[in-house]
């Protein structure tokens, strides 16, 4: 049995920020991640981040992991290539490093920063090789340096869809079009304008009807939708593409939290089933906190701040200096408020409002 004061599950932006914050408050931290390097999905974010200085705005995502670990490094034990496979209500977790090293962890508190996974879309041919998640294309291209194909149809004009389209262009891959079923572009317009300048058509009120091909994608059929989301007859067109990239949203990875007995609730604004939590990111299990996309899908800048908030709140619960922890908590809450304060944060705000009351009502 491995004992630790605080266990952080996941070493992406939220987990790293959480571990660093708790450690800087004097807490002993064990951070486990299933990957072979830290940073989670930051390692493929080649674009400069939005936000303010405190969110590392203007810094490329790939360069952020090293900035997140600054203070308490000597108080953090990192265990990579390690998957947490069980989480029990008696505060014991089971984990597996590689194929062989199976062990139990007994923490006083835990922060789950397990992120999110990509949603899928139903259409004929969606099982063909060449139908990839947008994150998969990013991984292949920006992490392994392998081109996903020659010409791509992007499905979804949220931030992920338009950012990955831009990254495809940067890698020298053609983007035939971006289709978006909604009447408006969901991502930041400045990202969309970059694509427009590059001559990539963004087709709102359009969807994919089918991917075609024998052994892999050879073409895709798209069509226009009317105001009732029905295909406009005769609007079908076939695009010659060898990759169909799905950027249709993310779902929080809540499996372990469910095992631990944390209450979850379906909140579409936050990506699906999310743990009910309070304003300090504590779940219905008093020893478990959440941070980042698992707590509701939004931008990585918010994930980092949530990590700091959960890290400070957990540290406070574990006996860290109250004034120091409270200072970080207040700063993080103000920072989240700033990030979510504008019109683009409205969806997140309404989603979170549905959750935070949940524990009191339990």
């Amino acid at each position: 049995m491995v004992k630790t004061q605080l266990l952080v599950v996941g070493g992406g932006p939220a987990g790293l920020a959480a571990a660093d914050t708790a450690a800087s408050l004097g807490i002993q931290v064990l951070l486990v991640d299933e990957g072979r390097s830290l940073g989670g999905q930051l390692v493929k974010q080649t674009h400069k981040f939005f936000g303010s200085g405190e969110h590392h705005a203007g810094v490329r995502g790939i360069d952020i992991p090293q900035l997140l670990l600054k203070e308490g490094q000597d108080k953090i034990t990192f265990k990579l290539n390690t998957t947490v496979i069980g989480c029990y209500q008696d505060r014991v977790l089971t984990a597996l490093t590689g194929e062989d090293e199976y062990f139990k962890i007994s923490p006083q508190a835990a922060i789950f920063a397990t992120g999110a996974s990509e949603k899928f879309l139903a259409f004929p041919g969606n099982d063909l090789p060449g139908v990839y998640g947008a994150g998969a294309v990013q991984t292949l291209m920006n992490q392994y340096g392998v081109l996903p194909g020659n010409r791509v149809l992007m499905v979804g004009a949220g931030n992920i869809g338009i950012i990955v389209s831009y990254q495809l262009l940067q890698a020298g891959v053609q983007v035939a079009a971006v289709v978006e079923a909604a009447p408006q572009i969901g991502g930041y317009l400045v990202h969309a304008s970059k694509l427009a300048r590059a001559g990539v058509p963004i087709l709102t009120r359009h969807t994919i009807l089918a991917a075609r091909g024998k052994e892999a994608v050879e073409s895709a059929v798209i069509a226009r939708l009317d105001d009732n989301w029905q295909v406009v007859p005769g609007s079908q067109q076939e695009l010659e593409v060898d990759v169909v990239c799905l950027a249709v949203g993310l779902s929080p990875v809540v499996d372990l939290l469910r095992q631990a007995g944390c209450r979850t609730r379906y909140v579409p604004e936050l990506g699906g089933d999310v743990p009910v939590r309070d304003s300090l990111l504590r779940t219905s299990q008093e020893w478990i906190y959440v941070a980042g996309d698992v707590a509701g899908v939004e931008e990585a800048s918010a994930a980092m701040v949530e990590g700091r908030l959960a890290g400070a709140a957990a540290a406070k619960q574990l006996g860290a200096d109250v004034a120091a922890a409270d200072e970080i908590i207040a700063r993080s809450q103000a920072s989240l408020k700033a990030l979510r304060g504008g019109p683009v944060g409205e969806k997140i705000r309404s989603g979170i409002a549905k959750l935070e009351g949940g524990i009191a009502n339990a």
């Binding site: 400069k48 940067q170 009447p183 572009i185 304008s193 300048r197 001559g199 700033a338």
Partner: protein, 167 residues
């Protein structure tokens, strides 16, 4: 249109230009930032404090054109690549547009390229008169294009893929 295609229309971008007399007085910045998003590196980047976002980082940047001298430092700092500098006084009959560029190839100074508009369509041929690659730009190159003066606010990019691009 902007919200459905990503292409700013004339009425959108015209509202972002300084008054006529300022435009004739020398280089000026154009912030093609139309949406309230949480972002403020531009404000911090300006050595002349000409750009204001304010307390709420969701505010749209405001430019004080008495303070802005069109230096272009903010161009590479904008995560949205939405800032351009226009000089309508560059040369007789010609203006200069500074644009952010994160593709390969990086055109060489002195070469000719096809300049494109906000919709990616060809606008004109343009001479590359400046290529800025300072370290603090962090891999966002800033390129100066010499274009006919009446097109300075039409040109916003370079055709992708270099001159042999067959697309």
């Amino acid at each position: 249109m902007l919200k459905t295609t990503g292409v700013a229309q004339k009425e959108d971008w015209q509202a972002k230009l300084p008054p006529e007399e300022r435009r004739k007085a020398g280089p000026y910045v154009v912030y093609e930032c139309y949406q309230k998003i949480p972002c403020n590196p531009c404000e911090k980047s300006c050595p002349f404090k000409a750009v204001t976002i304010g307390e709420d980082i969701n505010n749209i940047p405001r430019v004080d054109y008495d303070l802005c001298n069109g230096c272009g430092v903010c161009i590479a700092r904008c995560p949205g690549l939405a800032i351009f500098v226009v000089d309508e006084t560059y040369a007789p009959g010609y203006g200069k547009v500074l644009i952010p560029w994160e593709y390969l190839p990086v055109p060489e100074k002195g070469s000719e390229v096809t300049a494109v508009g906000r919709d990616g369509k060809d606008v004109c041929r343009a001479e590359v008169v400046e290529v800025r690659t300072a370290r603090n730009q962090d891999r966002t190159v800033v390129i100066g294009l010499k274009v006919p003066v009446d097109l300075v606010n039409e040109v916003r990019g370079i055709k992708l893929g270099g001159e042999d691009n067959g697309r």
